[in-house]
């Protein structure tokens, strides 16, 4: 077409108008908080239909992905972590503190000696891909019972060894997910020690939410009354940096 108004031109102009408006709306704090209001609706409606605290589906060994795609940080920079990795994490310690009656410093061996849960579950990334893997570790609830959560505790924050630039990775969940039977601290994947790329030596599995909630390289668990005051206040690295939803059940 050689006229002034071409079909492509019309589409571009029309979509330009719509897009310009949508980009402006995307950046307007008021409209963003309106859109973000849907997050609370997702959380409440999913918690309503999941009031019976259902288990995420578990699969059979035949369903496991041939290769489990690692994502996010695939390792941790620094001599400290390298030393731990060289020692097969024999001296890795998990700290449990914050609003607990008895702060803990659990050696990896102690975590490995606790009663274990093994589950074959599907990992759903926010980007859209999925991988099925075999996970094993103690239920988080056991560790929390050892530490004794104080009544004011509402959230658990997972402080990780990996960093994006200078900021360490961190994530948080509420007590509903913390005490869910499938919420485990996995130190084994596919019946072998958790590889570094997948978060060695310890990663969280919180099976009813998307992958970025499953903190890797977990060093410290902190019980808190609120997420305010934790870095950007939204409860997680991607939540603070990229405005991803804290409730990631959808």
């Amino acid at each position: 077409m050689s006229g002034l108004i071409t079909r492509r031109g019309l589409i571009a102009a029309g979509s330009g108008l719509l897009l310009g408006g949508c980009d402006r709306l995307s950046e307007s704090p008021g409209f963003r908080s309106l859109l973000s209001g849907a997050e609370a609706v997702h959380e409440r409606s999913q918690r309503l239909i999941g009031g019976h605290e259902p288990l995420a589906r578990e699969f059979s060994p035949a369903d496991v992905s041939p290769v489990f795609r690692p994502n996010g940080n695939r390792g941790v920079a620094g001599a400290d972590y390298e030393r731990h990795a060289a020692q097969d994490f024999a001296n890795w310690t998990l700290t449990v503190d914050g609003l607990v009656a008895k702060p803990l410093a659990l050696p990896l061996a102690a975590i490995q000696a606790m009663p274990q849960r093994r589950q074959i579950t599907r990992h759903d990334c926010v980007e859209g891909w999925s991988a099925i893997g075999v996970w094993q570790g103690p239920q988080l609830s056991q560790i929390l019972k050892l530490a004794g959560l104080l009544p004011r505790a509402r959230y658990l924050v997972f402080h990780c060894a990996d960093r994006f630039d200078t900021r360490p990775y961190y994530e948080s969940i509420d007590l509903l997910d913390a005490f869910h039977p499938q919420t485990i601290l996995a130190w084994r994947m596919n019946d072998a020690p958790l590889p570094v790329a997948n978060g060695a030596p310890l990663r969280l599995r919180v099976e009813r939410q998307l992958g970025y909630k499953h903190a890797k390289f977990v060093q410290r668990i902190e019980a808190r009354a609120s997420l305010a005051g934790l870095y950007g206040g939204k409860g997680g690295y991607w939540e603070d940096v990229g405005d991803y939803a804290w409730y990631a059940g959808i």
Binding site: I11, A12, S15, G16, L18, L19, C22, D23, S26, R32, L34, L35, S36, G37, A38, E39, V41, H42, Q46, I49, G50, P54, L55, A56, R57, F59, D63, S65, P66, V67, R69, R122, D124, C125, V126, E127, G128, W129, S130, A131, I132, E207, R208, Q209, L210, W238, G242, D243, Y244, A245, A248, G249, I250
Partner: protein
């Protein structure tokens, strides 16, 4: 659609009340919502422009559809077939004219730049508008008789000879005149019923099937499609089915008197074609 005109006396030209308020409201709300859903959905697709069948699927697994850039050329691969799509898919120009390697170009996505988090916020907020407005509209259309009177396909209309006659009329671009133009023909009914009871529910339920929280609470929502990645593939296909409907729908409006048609969908009043 009300038939206020005596069918025997009409030769066209009269004004009739064609679309109910509920239909008009839902039509425009749904049009805007679908545009936002499709475009924010393409942002989400751009995060991982590969589709799989089954429960799992990631970079190491076999994708049945893939959009990407190979040596600077944009490519779309479906099964064994690879098509060069530079300029549109895989490799395209950004709003600033610079070359961008992304599956769908900036003019097709919300936001126009790549931001998965905000794309998801648009998509998941308007998913409620899409689902609730469809549910209300279907319920109301059942109550007020719209479905029974206007969408229901009668036994006579299902007859192959009748359908074939309608196909031929469409192919020749012969549209009904007079009062016959107030009733949907069988191909129209099939298209509208296909959207109301087929593509829209499919796109909604496959969308829910991708949510890990829903999968835990109601596993059948994911399982009926054969797994989360199958649900994602079907979600994409249903979205493009809706885009296909939109293209044909707009083409039919343009061919059959766009001013009269659009006016009828805004005001409700339609002038019977002569």
């Amino acid at each position: 659609m009300n038939e206020a005109v005596d069918p025997l006396a009409s030769e066209g030209g009269e004004r009739v009340h064609r679309h109910r308020l509920s239909t008009r409201l839902w039509h425009w709300l749904n049009a805007v919502t679908l545009a936002l859903m499709l475009m924010s959905g393409l942002t989400i697709f751009n995060a991982h422009p590969r589709l799989y069948w089954g429960e799992y699927g990631a970079n190491f697994d076999k994708a049945w559809l893939e959009i990407g850039a190979v040596r600077g050329e944009g490519v779309l691969r479906v099964g064994q077939v690879t098509i060069r799509t530079t300029g549109l898919l895989g490799v395209s120009q950004g709003a600033d004219g610079a070359e961008r390697h992304k599956a769908f170009p900036h003019w097709a996505t919300i936001p126009s730049y790549y931001d998965l988090a905000i794309g998801r916020r648009w998509h998941l907020a308007f998913a409620w508008v899409l689902s609730l407005s469809l549910a209300l509209y279907l319920l109301w259309s059942l109550v007020n008789g719209h479905l029974r009177r206007d969408i229901h396909i009668t036994r006579r209309e299902w007859r192959p000879a009748h359908v074939w006659r309608d196909v031929k009329a469409h192919a020749r671009l012969r549209f009904p005149t007079g009062v016959a133009a107030t009733r949907y023909n069988v191909l129209q009914k099939l298209a509208y019923a296909g959207v109301l009871f087929g593509l829209l529910p499919l796109v909604i339920v496959t969308g829910l099937g991708m949510a890990p929280g829903i999968d835990a609470a109601w596993p059948w929502v994911t399982e009926i499609w054969g797994g989360r990645q199958s649900a994602r593939s079907l979600h994409f296909l249903a979205a493009f089915g809706l885009l296909g409907f939109f293209v044909i729908h707009v083409a039919m409006v343009l061919l059959s008197g766009p001013f009269n048609q659009v006016r009828a969908m805004i005001t409700g009043w339609y002038r019977l074609p002569r």
